[in-house]
Structure formats: structure tokens, C-alpha cells
Symmetry: D2
Subunit: 131 residues, 4 copies
């Protein structure tokens, strides 16, 4: 499956080189994940998904007001983790800007690691099959 989200680079996202700061690529990936959950109504009260791994390869900058198209794919879903892949495309310049992946796990309200609920895994698998 592939989920797409567009984001316009804001002034505050840029740094003194005039390009989006490298840490903000991770932030727009997370924003894409948030929109994905909203879109598919993946609400999980009492469960949070902290990141255990994050990686990004930078290929081409994103500048003020340029449009980033972020593509998110769920690459793995297990009992304990979900691995998401991201591609960030500079739509304004028609160039691949960056790609990377983020791995998340589930915890409960007490910060204890828990299994990802079956209904959640099934729903994600269902979404993945559609594509």
C-alpha cells in the first residue's frame, strides 16, 4: 500500500542554507503517518507508538514554499513492531528529495511494551492488500 501526503515547506522549516533542516524530514514523515491514521480511522486509545529506529537518506534539498510529496508504505507489521518506508519527493523541482524508514513499537499508558492489538494488525493488512 502507498499513502501520499503533500506538505508545503514553511519558513520555520528552513535553515541558514535556505533549505529544510535535516531533522524536519523526520517531522514531515511523522505528519504523514498522522494523516494516514486519521484517513483510515486508526484510533488506538491507551496505546502509543514510540519510535525505536529512524533513518533518512538526503538526496536533494527542499526550499521555502516548495511542495514535498511524501509517500508512506508499511513494509513490515509484526506482533511487536511496524516498519514504515518514506519517500519524500520535491514536487516543485521534480526530484527525489529523500527516503528513509521508521520503526515503531506499541506501549500502554504505563510505558510498558505491549503486543500490537490484532484488530490493528488486521486493519493494516487489509489496507495493504488494497494496493
Amino acid at each position: 500500500m502507498s499513502f501520499k501526503y503533500k506538505y508545503r515547506i514553511s519558513w520555520v522549516d528552513t535553515d541558514a542554507l535556505g533549505v529544510m533542516h535535516f531533522s524536519n524530514f523526520f517531522r514531515i514523515c511523522e505528519k504523514t503517518e498522522e494523516e494516514f491514521r486519521i484517513f483510515y480511522k486508526l484510533d488506538t486509545p491507551g496505546i502509543s507508538f514510540p519510535r525505536v529506529y529512524a533513518e533518512c537518506n538526503y538526496k536533494y534539498p527542499l526550499r521555502f514554499l516548495e511542495i514535498a510529496e511524501i509517500t508512506m508504505d508499511i513494509k513490515e507489521i509484526g506482533k511487536k513492531h511496524i516498519k514504515m518506508e518514506f519517500q519524500i519527493f520535491n514536487e516543485t523541482k521534480k526530484r527525489l528529495s529523500a527516503f528513509g524508514n521508521i520503526v515503531i513499537v506499541a506501549i500502554n499508558d504505563k510505558f510498558e511494551p505491549i503486543d500490537i492489538p490484532d484488530w490493528y494488525i488486521n486493519k493494516i493488512k487489509e489496507i495493504m492488500e488494497k494496493f
Copy 2:
């Protein structure tokens, strides 16, 4: 009283004009307030201090690696609020960079407004008298 804190401008603080983003002036004021509380051991378990007002006048930019010296003064302390004044001096360029003020109130764990505890007011007043 006057409390001083020095902060070196990081790359991530800058924007595409090569200067610290205007929102980050508020962040280094808050950082100064945090250092002030640490320094005077002003720990308040169960009480938070959300901002109800924040204001900043910008006079001269701060650039990458320049040193900001932030001076914090407590201007008012009442039963319900504390007003802090900040001056941000660009120490590298010997120029006043910005000044402003922030007003905070006290809330408990349930987000309900509460009176600022007497011991806290007294401790602040004691600190103020020293200067």
C-alpha cells in the same frame, strides 16, 4: 533581581535569512526560566505554569554561533500570576537583540487554575530582594 543565561545559536535555530527564527526567541526565554528554576531549586511537583501571554520586540538579529545573553527579571508576582521580563543581548555583536515579557499562571494536575503557593511567592520575593 536579574538572572542571566548564555545560549549559543544553533544551526537549527536559524532560518533562510541566516538569522534566528522569531519563534525561537520565546524558546530561549523559556530555557532561561528553566535554568533559573534549577539554579534556585524552585521545584513545584504537581504544579505547572502555562503561559497566558508572551510578547517580543525584535531589534537586531542573532546569527549562527553567535552568543545570546538572556537577562530575566521577575517584574510582578501575585497570587495568580508571575510576569517575567526578558532582554536578549547579542553578545558577539554587542547589540540589544530583543526584549519582551511572558506572563504565567499556575495550574494543578487536572489543568485547573490554582493560587501560586505561598512558599513559592515568598521564595521568589526573597530572590528579588537580593538584587
Copy 3:
């Protein structure tokens, strides 16, 4: 005139109290201003608009995934400055979240203060009359 922009609160916007950090209110105001300029094609090559003043009154928090509706009004436009007023409405909770204003001035590529170009003032006035 009134320009409206909606923004969904991201995880990264929140702080340990579970609400949007006070500095981020300024960032979503600036984002609204960016969308306003895009919408009305207010492109000004070679001219930047640094902030000389920013102020915010906080009334009610914005939490993760809540929708903020930001209303921007241009209150003053002179030869040297533009004053914008912002209202941030928590649309999810139907409560006024914050309001404030930001004053900007014009500078050229060499960071020198300049007059705001007549065509820009006129275009803004034209937009203001429409409302």
C-alpha cells in the same frame, strides 16, 4: 479582510502537558501568513519581511490532532510596516484558543530597511476592501 487557514496539531507541536507549545502558536500564525501570500500571489522577490513585534494571548489549549482555525486580518499597512491580527480558534472544542498580532517591516537583500513597494500596499488594500 479576513483570511482563514486550518491546521491539524501534530505530535511534534505538543509538549509534556499534552498541549501545543506556546511558541508554536507563532509558527502557525506565520504559516497562515504564508498561505495568504500564496493565495493572493503576493510574491516579492528580493524583499523579505522580518518581524519587529509579536504578541500572543493564550486562552485555551490545542491538543494532538485537534483542528486550529487561524483567522488573519491585516489591521494596518503603512509605508514601513504591516500589522497583522490573528485569532486561533480550537475548532474541535469550539473555543477561542488564542489571539495576538505580529508586525513586519520590509528589508532588501542587504538587510537594509526599505519602503514597502506601492504595488504591494495597493494590492493589500484591494484585498482588504473585498471584505
Copy 4:
């Protein structure tokens, strides 16, 4: 070689789970790199070092006011790239918080990739030998 830098977690660094947001780990690594350059007077006018890769493994959270001790090691230095390794230790809780690495390349004022200057490579190698 190993370079160490301590950073106290600020309120703005936290998110609604009460822990430092995952993107901010990259920011405190970059801050450590800045302090490293300052400490060893590694000034490179006209040359910038954009990131081409960044990776982080998250092991244990950092909370408000906790102290992070960041250890930076230069693992590789070639004609075209520098690879830095980071370890982020939660000093308050005496637990490894995160580790990762960042790869940078050199560009000139026109954003063109250039060789890392020999004097810079030599200086770094000299620093590395000291440890």
C-alpha cells in the same frame, strides 16, 4: 577520538508522552557537532556540510530537565565524506538513551559538492589520534 557534550532537556523538546521528541535527538547530535567545531576551532568559511544520511536507534527516553550526555566519535573521514557516531546517554537515569550516526559531505557557496580540504582532514585526523 571522543567528544562529549551535556545538554539539559528543555520543555519545548518534550512531546505529549512527556519525553523528548524523536526528531530532537538529531538536533542535539548536531549541537554536539557544533560544540566540537568550536572547541577545536574548525572554522571553514565558504564551506558547508550538509547531511546525506542520519540514523538513530532509540533505547530509553529523556524527560524534562534530565541531562543527556552526548558522545561523538568521528568514525570515517574521506575525501568526500565524514561519518560521525553518536551515543546519547541519559545521565540522570544512568541509562543509554540512543545511538546513531550522521554522514556529512562538503559543498561550496554555490551548493556544489567539493572535496573536503586537506587541512581539515589532517586536523580531524590529528584530533582522532589524541584519543
